[in-house]
Symmetry: C2
Amino acid sequence: MRILVLGGDGYLGWPTALHLSDRGHQVAVADSFVRRQYDHELGVWSLVPIEPLPVRTRAWHEVSGHSISAFVGDLTDAEFTYRIVREFRPDTIVHFAEQRSAPYSEIDRKHAVYTQVNNVVGTLNLLYAIAEIDRDIHLVKLGTMGEYGTPDIDIEEGWLEVTHKGRTDRMLYPKRPGSFYHLSKVHDSHNIEFACRIWGLRATDLNQGVVYGQQTPQTALEDRLATRFDYDAIFGTVLNRFVVQAVLGEPLTIYGEGGQTRGVIDIRDTVECLRITAEQPAARGEFRVFNQMTESFTVTEIAKVVATAFSGEVGIENLDNPRVESETHYYNVVHSGLVELGLTPHCLSDTLITSMFEVAERYKHRVDRDALLPLVNWRRTANQVRPS
Amino acid sequence: MRILVLGGDGYLGWPTALHLSDRGHQVAVADSFVRRQYDHELGVWSLVPIEPLPVRTRAWHEVSGHSISAFVGDLTDAEFTYRIVREFRPDTIVHFAEQRSAPYSEIDRKHAVYTQVNNVVGTLNLLYAIAEIDRDIHLVKLGTMGEYGTPDIDIEEGWLEVTHKGRTDRMLYPKRPGSFYHLSKVHDSHNIEFACRIWGLRATDLNQGVVYGQQTPQTALEDRLATRFDYDAIFGTVLNRFVVQAVLGEPLTIYGEGGQTRGVIDIRDTVECLRITAEQPAARGEFRVFNQMTESFTVTEIAKVVATAFSGEVGIENLDNPRVESETHYYNVVHSGLVELGLTPHCLSDTLITSMFEVAERYKHRVDRDALLPLVNWRRTANQVRPS
């Protein structure tokens, strides 16, 4: 298949592009490099050094013999978006190209507005480009488990059969997310479902859990193919951050009581979910939703897994929760759709964590400890993200 | 109370400002006049001539002795939004200041993006302004019944008690709207609910039905106080458009079969709902939702009401439906919240329609018949809004 990976220079976009290319698909990536710009804005960089995109694609060609072409531009520039769809003529578009950090969106008004405009407009432009150029293209869009919030009933895959006053309908699952970022993805989901309805587009919305890990079989082939490893309080996901804290001899910092439960997924499963979804597209007019996660843990449980796996002493510290969220709640998620399509999940195991400790150990001299502090408080309307 | 009416130069914002001022509230309006700019873009103007805002407020002062102050600017300009909240220090903000036409949002990509960015960013800026300046301000936000779509179960007021697999939760009512405009209001609702949760704001979301009528007791006092009367296919609401078609001797044009059911409300009830809501605010942290409509009719029934009330011959013509929507569906809406707070609804009666015929008769020489044609087709990605 011809697969266009938007945000293909990012933490997950790059390993996904490699995985799809490795499996024989014709892959192109598009990226604006704005994720690298956030690094400069925030003054914190990937723990693992990453190469510029042209070096990455050249290295991949040397190692695998496969080519990945690259488009440089931003989806909010509609001309760019139309051009890449017209030129590459993909069968599938995998869309990672959004601002993806909840704390980043909560820094202040400008970051909230930026996140929602960037994500919503980029996706709208893409929907129009598909509708105008080729309505048969399968859009595979990255959503987040955070769209659902923490309802007191089971979380289904995007749709919910509701019986009310003796009548029944299949409805979109009600969303109640926990940040302006998560809200942007809720907005996207509503817009995409509408585009499927009016234009007969085919789309799969992948509500992904918290991703952990840094290596896939392809990125591990050589250093130039490495993907990002974010450990900071803005972009670092919780397990990755705990691994770095353990290696540094810092306590693992839990926000609040730590009873918050999250769906998680191994980075190797993420890229495989993308392949499975691309190869088995949604039907024309279908808005298909999968919950892209394999297990659920409380934050405290995640900390304990890391502490147990680490060879040295590890402390755990509960901080005041900078977020507004339930710290004890019901959480039971249906996530069978991708398994039915063929996913065999990697479960959170000491093996993987051991390899992450090795990565963190190798690059720990690059850590800025101040960047571990959660400085963005949801209750405030403006936050300073670097210690003054 | 001190009440700031955003979009206070518009079809409903202006009569609302007059009604609140008449009842003794301290009223200020804010407007960017972009609604008047759409007239020039589309080449069609209000059937009833309307005065510029300064003439309107001067006339109101002469007639009533009350003053309405005016701020000129756009909510997407955050500095403006913060300034008006700081300077006027309202107890209540009534927010009509959004692009409000579904067909306008469906013209093409630019209009869809404009509608979502304008509406979502304006409301985000407002939420931040309230959170920063005074979290006690009550936000009264105009939503639309179109946010719900046409589910096969009863439509409740914003929230729904869901029982699923033996567990129960009170959830946001699932939304499945029918245009990029309606989607923008769904996005707003999600953003506002979140702001109530994280900042303890108080908000009422008024999901309004299709408004009909053009006069309130205050706007009818003299010509300079008149509000808009839109009859065109882009901004005209269905009953108002039918009244104009009847007076012109044109057939009433129904889109498709006409079995689409819509909630409707008399303009005199709209302004009263706003007063009632402002005077009985939501609690701190509460996201309160009312369905601001008084009756439901199919489009065919609305056409028959107009045809029966009109003294002359009236034809009815079914056009190919330019929208993508169900033409026969279940529709049963709970709308008791505002009645419980004190609304006594005007029901659709011949009396009101007769006064509308008089208005249409007086100004029928101003009609551009071409503007009645529905040229915006939901299935297309680009539409020409004026006949070529």
